[in-house]
Symmetry: D2
Subunit: 392 residues, 4 copies
């Protein structure tokens, strides 16, 4: 049970690159990082590509004016000169900039938290991973939904054999907000997402499905994909080659099969993010639209609905509990959960506490690497004509 008491000796001094006034995701980072004020303190920022707007915004967040910088390069160099300079930075900028900023942050001796998808290529991730190791720094990736503790309940139940051997993995992350091309033309947030130079080799594969793919790995860490097939489309033609819809078939090493549907043209869909794991005895299912519930279906028995906060849940799940059962938690709580773990990881890294790091389950750079690999394999299959490819 989390009640705001500190988990590390003092909050880390933290800044953001991007995530300014018009950013939807920026607030999620701040509300996650600053929850309880015992994990991070917001002390600096380069919030906006428009320096004045970024400064104005930072002042409104309560950041001292002299620590609001026109760009990340200036922030990293100026903060490095301060005794009380930043220790960690979150990157909430368009995809195409992650790689450079991440490297610069690590070079500046900072822990990093970065938006997904991490970079354009897995080689870039491997390079940055090596750099992070060299510098002794953490790189976390904000798969924000993965902070929902019911996913840890799924993980525990699967590990305990409650569903038997896994046979089918059924994943979906879809919505309909891009079912026409209006936003492509008017919304800054949407424009870059369909521009390969900024978004990278994919639209919804990276923007949506990497979340769900990571969540599937979180709940069944032993399951490895052997080969997959990805069929992608650009229903709004101007988005080509970037897809706004894709279906993926997966073959796992243990013989299980899986599917992923990711889409931003699932018109009208308001509950299209879900995970179902089918085992030989039972299934588990979680919907993002009712995040406090988990369905547990044992063949031949009544359907069970498990509710967040109840004492029958696994300890690993209830460790992240904040509000108690019947009191709905949501996405801001999930982000708070992963940001708290980022802080714990950074603090452990600072202290050389490898034991803590080994046992801490959170979206680290390997999770970021897996996400980029996922995209690469999907795109490779799709570009060959939706054929089976080995998962490389």
């Amino acid at each position: 049970m989390l009640n705001g008491e500190k988990k590390i000796s003092r909050p880390l001094r933290w800044a953001m690159v991007g995530g300014g006034r018009s950013s939807q995701v920026g607030y999620k980072h701040r509300t996650g990082a600053l929850r309880d004020n015992t994990a991070f303190q917001l002390v600096a920022g380069a919030f906006d590509i428009d320096a004045d707007r970024g400064k104005d915004f930072g002042v409104n967040l309560g950041v001292a004016e002299d620590r609001l910088y026109p760009d990340y390069q200036t922030m990293f160099s100026e903060e490095a000169k301060r005794e009380d300079g930043i220790e960690a930075v979150s990157i909430a900028t368009p995809n195409g900039t992650h790689y450079e900023i991440c490297k610069a942050a690590l070079e500046a001796g900072l822990h990093v938290i970065c938006e997904k998808p991490l970079f354009f290529t897995s080689d870039e991730v491997r390079e940055v991973k090596a750099l992070a190791e060299e510098k002794g720094k953490i790189v976390g990736v904000t798969y924000g939904f993965s902070g929902n503790q019911m996913l840890l309940q799924m993980r525990a139940m699967i590990e305990q054999g409650k569903i038997g051997e896994i046979r089918v993995v059924d994943l979906q992350y879809t919505h309909g907000f891009s079912c026409n091309d209006e936003a492509d033309k008017t919304s800054e947030a949407q424009k870059w997402r369909v521009d390969p130079k900024v978004a990278g080799p994919s639209f919804v594969l990276g923007d949506l499905s990497t979340h769900t793919y990571y969540m599937s790995q979180l709940i069944m860490p032993h399951m490895k994909i052997k080969e997959l097939l990805c069929d992608r489309q650009s229903f709004v033609g101007s988005r080509a080659p970037l897809e706004d819809n894709a279906h993926i078939l997966m073959h796992y090493e243990n013989g299980a099969v899986g599917t992923m549907w990711t889409s931003s043209i699932n018109a009208g869909c308001m509950d299209g993010h879900r995970i179902r794991i089918v085992g030989s005895k039972a299934s588990l299912e979680w919907w993002d639209s009712k995040p406090n519930e988990l369905t547990y279906e044992v063949q031949g028995e009544p359907v069970q609905t498990l509710i967040r906060g109840m004492s029958y849940l696994d300890d690993s799940c209830n460790t992240d509990e904040r509000l108690a059962a019947l009191h709905q938690e949501g996405l801001s709580d999930a982000w708070a959960n992963i940001y708290l773990k980022f802080a714990i990881a950074m603090d452990a890294k600072n202290r050389g506490d490898e034991e803590t790091l080994k046992n801490l389950v959170y979206p680290d750079i390997d999770a970021g690497l897996e996400g980029v690999r996922w995209i690469e394999n999907c795109v490779r299959s799709a570009d060959k004509g939706a054929v089976w490819v080995n998962f490389e």
Copy 2:
């Protein structure tokens, strides 16, 4: 609105082959056919491969003892001698027998209603279709779920452009009742379903997905599959080569894509039969587990739930209404709806009323043909290693 009043001048004299005491589906045929007593009259039967058990059963249904026959051959020949002999017969036997019985029935001058999947090969269906045309008889196929009138509402709304151009077709018919092999050994109904000699080239593709595939055609008759890819598995190994799980990807001629998941090993799943059609503006979704509802989701508007029996529904939907809104209809009502249409078709055929036949929407032999083609194409793709094949 249906209230039991006759739609044809008199009920047709009707018999069953199969569907005896231990048959689950036999009752669905009878309850569908005999609803209201204005479409069919049960006057004869060869209900069971065990002649005595079949006779005992028929007597208990109220059939005259002298019209309970040891086998279909006898029934067809004996009834043909009677002035008041049967005019139509339903075939509710294992798949492998459909073809011979159907042909015999048509040769005997009977209209036919047959269980799905119709036959093993589409060539057989084409042959029987020619025979039926020659004999001037109807062959109906019992895609029973398709009698739910909310599907006609979907059909009307799609035809009226309420969802825009179709982009994604998302189909699922899964359950978990065969997630282990126990029933394969003990249940007569299950045993033959996993025996290729009796079941044909597929298990769940034929047993389950043909229903949903037909329903998709019913609601969007203009949508044609261009190519598909089927990946099938036998999670219970003793079922191989017959699959207990399959995923299919479809490419439609208009550029839309589709998926079908069919499975009998979806452990614990009690609501795994559903259809979602995504258009460029909106989506429609129907779940067999809540058959009186239809979800209509227009992007950017509140989600709408349409309820069976309400006056805002299309006339084509409300024509099949029986109980009025708030009064739940179920699968027995759906079967009654299609059996009523079989009777109307047979009566029109008898009278040479081609106008009625042209406008009547029901699962006819072409629907049966499509189901067999669906299986053939899926199996062909799967057997080649889950590759794309043209839909032939």
Copy 3:
């Protein structure tokens, strides 16, 4: 499991009074009675106050023209002269006529099935009950929803102590179809319902809540109301003194409390018919809008959803099973279940089989009496100014 096989030696010869072409409930009677053709046979009728319309309708149902009568009196006297005359009659006429027709039917030596609410006063019911006993006849009451087998599951679980001691009974039967007075002026079916001379002392109390009250007695036969308080309103003023909305508080003899909300002005409500029973350990809840499910909530455990047709259900529930799990049953199945029990009761009465009668759970004349008592007590409380009254 019901599959249409006969439960009595031969179907009873049956007729209807009322329930003609424009009647919504008439079809429910016929579809219930004639399901499977092994319980009742429709052989005569006085379907309509307009004799010609009634005859035309009856012919369309397949009844012989000479057994379609202009009124019930003629039917009872003419049928009595026939060797193969009717043995049972269903009364589906406006409330105000039930008493006279019931008496006449019993005097004519017929078993009776009558719409609810049975009569205007409990004294009338007691009188008719005595007459039925004298004549050795059954009087059944069509609380149609009560045929849903999940209610028998609730009954069994309560009897087995699965929820502990009952503390709170939470009942609701509401809809919004009369939220304005339009139908009062135009619909025949609605007009008489708000006319005290025809409807009796109540509108929704009789039309709706008697169903739910009976269902509550069915599932917890040991629970007796000690006192109640009813607050009723006529939101559409022209309906006064008949109510279109009422709330009732109940005190049971064992210390439990209860509430009933009944209304026809619950605007837009499409799922307003439900029953929740709260015990000291757990609760059970059933919604008419999802009739194949039952929620079982044990405090401190995952919520359980029980599904119709599953083998974990009680035998008393599965006895009425027809279609097997996953195949939705609806209201027509429920009516078929109670009509089958009416037939079994009549047959047992004819044979003097008191053992069968003792064990048969169905809505008999005592259930009808309880419904009228319920209305009387509610109206008495309401008319005194919504005060507590002893349940007399």
Copy 4:
């Protein structure tokens, strides 16, 4: 849309009385107050009746050790001496202590935020209200659920006539966590709640129903209760005279009627907090268990589900939006919303900005007064034997 930018010139210096380590509600206060760090700053505390434990806890929250006090009296006097002393205090102690602490805080020149139910009697509230006015201070009451913005959508739609004239108000706040007396003996949080000396004249009426009653006033501010009737029970007998279950009937001045069911013995119930408002044309319904949705049912039209964050919602609703549609908000967001409004109110009061205060909708001392009046009237009715009493 809220993104963390300041709404007042600087955060207010804030402390807590109570809400220590074992308190469930304490965290909700802190997470609400400290969200975004632009409304309040936690600078002092008297968190626990056990001074050492309270100090240890406060240190863990990051409060300076010298501002962690053994009791509220010391805190108020010591902080008053500081230049940077606290400006506002939240009271999260058992009910029986609210009145004294509130008065002391106001006397010390502090703005106050207090748990519900505010005090034992409405006279006490009136006295404290006068004191607050005299001192020019705000008293806010933490009806935390009321911060959910979908309630503002209900308010706007009702005000705009979207449901017509209100006829029925259907309120429920129930759970089953106290269905046996175990927690009464072992849990500190539960023990005092069933002790009249500490809890006041009610258990669930105060603990639960005051929330829902306030929410009903929030969404329909023009609706005034004329008379009510309350029937309360102590199913766990040792709780008497305090009730663990109550049903209330209400008559509103405009002729509408209402019901409230509040209970802590609704065994197993995990979704028992809801509000339904029935108008002459349509109804609105909100469930705490799915707080991001609102059901809008117009009679004769498809049921509509409105989703949080969508642009079709009223501006007054979307003003409090934080995460954007599809991203679930929960109770911590709701608490953040009301705490932000407390800060805005305090700041406006400090600046003498009556215009802002007039337009700000939040749970102020009048809301607190109404809650206590509600309890008083309920208890008065119940104690007279569950009779109708004028709402005084």
